[in-house]
Symmetry: none
């Protein structure tokens, strides 16, 4: 079964909102083994929408529409499909009652155009809208399935997941189970990873392997299609073992794990407390960590020392020390880490200093960063980064690198 | 000129990421008066991409592609277009040197597949990639313009805005000048602002007025279309005056200004130094400020005191004081602000404390936040926020609110 997702709405073409519905539906369809071949956005224009439907019918057998089911005269998705497929529109009694009930509850008069929202394609399975007024519907005609859902994500998302997806899974039939797993890499570029895995990427068909790079990280999504979940897991395990042989040292997690969620859960599990002294990242390391649930057990706090004076006054690093080694140096990063650990009496102390760029800082070229992580008892790990991004990209990379060292240290 | 935006990438069809590029480009094209009629997403599949190009050429005269310019063999956008339009691909020397330079700086070997990124359509205007490797390009063939840009938003967005958009504005021609201006509001909701401006929004046609809400802020984009830039500016000034009469007290800036950029430039202009003591925001206020160019003249640093103990040990706020007033209180926020100001001897000190939510903290319901800003000499401003978002939304709102107070205080 091949699907095309069609969003109807001029606000999308004007760039006022992102088409998050397409991502949501695509991700749900991937889980039930339905391939999405195209996503299309078209405005509130019956001529162009009709043309989009004609093209979609020629290349897909499941057309999923979002938007254009509302009460205004711009909302014309079902009218256009009805006209196109030669189907009548009829009032759905349950939907009509639910719309009338809403206006009664709100104590507002129901205007005539709201009755239009209860119109559905004759013969369609009606999907209840539990978070709004316009119902959804699923209809079939000439071997093509048409699923129509409202545009607002708050209405569409639960309707899709609770009602439409189970129906589609049935229609798509059980030609095998789809199970996927994501491997997450840090410290290796996409091109280099693909070179290492070239044979696998070229020859592996079940599971399929799809690499994706973003923000200095690379992921590989493995998707297996088998008769049972157990068989799929065996195939995924086997592929993961192969990948680990070739690039295992760069894998830090699975699925929805991120560097920061992994670091936070390791800190919490191991009952370790942490503090940070941040210069170029100016609090970003701590702020990222603070987004993680349960982190208050681990994160004590820390110091942002943006200037050399602050490093001396707040962390007790002598001005002569900074002059001798430089503000951007392994020694200064290490002194910051030890000092903040002692000051906050935590188990782990992080020091981050560098030249965010593009200009040099204290004699070091832009993009030079030193990360140090100290542990109670005196052990210390440091890493030098040479980054080439913009200031803020370099800051984010510096934070990720600190999280990565931390994961390896306490993992 | 009618545009179609075509995103190439199977990760979009698998629902792994949102197609934010389509929104970004659509919004930019709206500013220069180019209508987007369709947005399309297609996978890394040359057959289907070729078909999408054929359809797009039949209904648009500007085809904008994002994605598929990378080094891997899945990246085939330019190869497919070259094949389709009968154009050769040639190495762009500047791009090649820049890619080689990147590998040299990183001290990594350059793999052969990376050379492919420097290939461009013969005769195209090459767009430099200032944040990555693959250059963009703009080519014309048979009355159709083809704009190719990389997929990662960090690379695409600046390339589009700085290089492609000015070229497209020229090509689209001067059928009247389009000048737009954005007014930025803080402290008023979209619905309330629309009520205040109802008459204007309903009747104003040149400039057009388009309100948009996001992240607790509202903007109104005014777009005027006239014979000359001067006339457009007159119309924009007149509309702004009308809007200021109705809701001027909520306007804090124009165009690309943000709360943080405005706050940073006011600090720098007024030669004021700043420090912050952050609890629920855990460094986010300082990290946001640190993203602004030139901020090292103003930002000294600060302290993150995530726990009550840290507030006592690092800021010298007695445990009894915290017990008496509560950790989430006006008094504690003010004490944090004064203490960090003294500790870092800055002109301004910011204190942020609160219950990020959803759980209560120290007896205060989730979403309760106190912001305090102290100035050298003793003056102090405080604000209580009752927020209803998720933890991280509440953190961002708390930071924005602090920036807003700061702007009113020193502006």
């Amino acid at each position: 079964m091949k699907a095309e997702i069609i969003a109807v709405g001029s606000e999308l073409l004007l760039g006022q909102i992102n088409n998050t519905n397409a991502r949501y539906i695509s991700s749900g369809l991937a889980e039930i083994g339905i391939d999405v071949h195209f996503q299309t956005v078209v405005g509130d224009n019956p001529g162009r929408l009709g043309e989009v439907i004609r093209i979609a019918e020629s290349r897909a057998d499941l057309l999923i529409f979002t938007g254009g089911l509302g009460p205004t005269k711009d909302d014309l998705t079902k009218e256009t499909i009805a006209h196109h497929a030669g189907r009548r529109l009829v009032h759905d009694e349950a939907a009509l009652r639910s719309i009338e009930g809403w206006f009664k509850r709100m104590g507002r008069p129901m205007t005539e155009n709201n009755r239009k929202q209860a119109l559905v394609l004759d013969g369609a399975v009606v999907l209840e809208n539990r978070h709004g007024m316009a119902p959804g519907m699923l209809a079939a005609s000439g071997g093509v399935h048409y699923l129509l859902m409202p545009g607002p994500p708050k209405e569409m998302e639960p309707m899709f997941t609770e009602q439409a997806k189970p129906l589609l899974a049935q229609i798509a039939g059980e030609d095998g189970r789809i199970v996927s797993r994501v491997l997450r890499f840090y410290g290796i570029g996409e091109a280099e990873l693909e070179e290492r895995l070239m044979d696998l990427l070229d020859n592996q068909t079940n599971p399929t392997l799809a690499p994706l790079a973003s923000d200095g990280e690379v992921t590989i999504r493995m998707t297996a299609k088998t008769e049972s979940r157990e068989e799929a897991v065996v195939l995924l395990d086997r592929a993961e073992t192969e990948i680990r042989k070739l690039a295992g040292e760069y894998i830090y997690g699975h699925d929805d794990e991120t560097l920061v969620s992994k670091a936070a859960s390791l800190l919490i599990e191991n009952r370790l407390t942490i503090s940070a002294a941040e210069s170029l990242t100016a609090g970003l390391f701590m702020a990222e960590l603070a987004e993680q649930p349960g982190i208050s057990a681990a994160l004590a706090g820390g110091v942002v020392t943006y200037t050399a004076e602050a490093k001396t006054a707040q962390l007790g690093i002598p001005a002569e020390f900074l002059k001798e080694h430089g503000v951007v140096s392994e020694e200064t990063a290490a002194a910051m880490a030890s000092s903040v650990l002692a000051k906050f009496s935590t188990d782990v102390g992080v020091g981050l200093t560098g030249a965010a760029g593009p200009d040099p800082h204290d004699g070091e070229p832009g993009g030079t960063v030193w990360v140090a992580i100290a542990r109670r008892g005196g052990s210390m790990e440091t890493r030098k980064l040479l980054l080439s991004g913009m200031r803020n990209t370099n800051r984010i990379r510096a934070v990720k690198s600190a999280l990565h060292i931390l994961i390896r240290m306490i993992g």
